[in-house]
Amino acid sequence: MTHISVRPRDADREPPAIRTEGLVRAFDGAVAVDHLDLDIRRGEIYGFLGPNGAGKSTTVRVLCTLLAPTGGRAVVAGHDVAAEPERVRLRIGVALQDVALDPKQTGVELLRLQGRLYGLSRTAIADRLEALTRLIDIGDALGRPIRTYSGGMKRRLDLAAALVHEPEILFLDEPTTGLDPVSRARVWEEVRRLNAELGMTIFLTTQYLEEADELADRVGIINGGRLVAEGAPDELKRRVGNDVIVARFGGPGDAARAEAARRRVEAVPGVRGVDTRGDELVVTAADGAATIGAVAVALDAVAPVRHLTLRTPTLDDVFLELTGNHIQLDDRQEEVA
């Protein structure tokens, strides 16, 4: 994993960038965020990972002051989101899940207005425009009405709008959803750069496991509004085991075979855990290379295996271990800008 994150030296001694204590947000009795406790250091990239409806976006909207908390407390950049929302807004930049742009304005007009609303002088706005134009790299299109932009261009302009005032904390709510792989890689690169060069704290929600894995210093996994796990990606993956062996049977009636195979594989030395997912058998092992042969022999006695794969654990394995479910991805992730 390439990781360029640079954390300020005094980060551990400084007050946290984001702290929530028993944060609750309910909608007509339905609890979207349930007693959430977060402690995010300054200069950290924090990945907030979870399936659809887990409470990621609601958490972001509360932390950004767009929603008032129903219970508990949230402090962002040293200010309480309920008591001092304007001070919080001054210090944060936000790129929401859906782009928040005015299609009638041009890109330049939108960025200028953002600068004015943050109280920047004309000179400062001109400087920021120059820098942001290089950042989003959409060429002359910046002078065109936003309604003519492609999805990827809108996403990049939305990011630029969040950065006009150079915030201390940047909230990115699923920033690469709907982007093609090249644009996604560019956003990743820029997130790393903002964090490394400017020491910006970045709170990133995502459904992409690899995104959290690639970018985040620490990952919080949320499910049903509750934080189910938190830690560095490698640390979380170690909880599952060092290696994962996946056996796929395939074909009708193979879910039953997988169940039968589970009982045999559990007895194989070196196996830490066995789980069945439909016609798949997922085996965690301390040393996958040393165990896969014995697992193959044990499986062969039950049924022919179509695919046998050895890989390192992913955050999906962590999520599965903690919740019993895979992370369900949003359909929109397949859209290409």
Binding site: C64, T65, L66, E86, R87, R89, L90, I92, V94, L96, D98, V99, A100, L101, D102, P103, K104, Q105, E109, L113, Q114, R116, L117, Y118, G119, L120, S121, A124, D127, R128, E130, A131, L132, R134, L135, I136, D137, P145, R156, A161, L163, H165, E166, R186, V187, E189, E190, R193, L194, E197, L198
Partner: protein, 180 residues
């Protein structure tokens, strides 16, 4: 996408600038006006149409029966009211919610009141602009305002103030959520 290389700028006095904020938001609304001519042309057309029609149909009847009555002068404020009654940024506010842009505005340190006032200021400016062609037509057909300059100036603040309550009133048809 290249790096953000400039130094972090100094933040200047932010937040407590309601007039500046409202002006900026009003400016944005006025800049968008050329793209929203469909909201301006019908009210002005309707106002001019009824101004002319009402004068044409009622002039003989009223002036022959009421001594000293000037139907043209009487119809002028009616035409102005007809013209500016349709002016409201409420539709634009709904579009801002629909497009998600209201969230972007709400995420700035601007006071909520400044956002609303900004839209209302734009309404006032548009209403004043709509009054101009009606006044031109009125003067062209011989309306005389005997109160001098104050009288001639009075249609602007009056017409500007008229649509403001409509702007400030939440629309019952406003969508509760933005487009997904």
């Amino acid at each position: 996408m290249t790096a953000l290389t400039i130094a972090r700028p100094q933040r200047e006095g932010i937040s407590a600038q309601p007039v500046r904020d409202a002006t900026a938001i009003a400016g944005r609304a006025l800049r968008a006006l050329p793209q929203e001519m469909e909201t301006v042309i019908p009210p002005i057309f309707i106002a001019l149409f009824f101004f002319v029609i009402n004068i044409g149909t009622l002039q003989h009847l009223t002036q022959s029966h009421i001594h000293g009555f000037d139907i043209k002068a009487f119809m002028l404020p009616t035409a102005i009211l007809i013209g500016v009654t349709g002016v409201s940024r409420a539709g634009s506010l709904v579009l801002d919610i629909h497009d998600g842009y209201l969230d972007r505005l709400l995420l700035t340190p601007v006071r909520r009141l400044a956002i609303l006032v900004g839209h209302m200021v734009a309404d006032v400016a548009i209403a004043c602009m709509l009054t101009v062609p009606i006044l031109i037509l009125a003067f062209a057909i011989g309306v005389h305002i005997q109160a001098g300059v104050p009288g001639r100036s009075s249609p602007w603040p009056a017409s500007g103030a008229w649509p403001s309550p409509a702007s400030a009133t939440p629309s019952p048809s406003r969508p509760a959520t933005r487009r997904r």
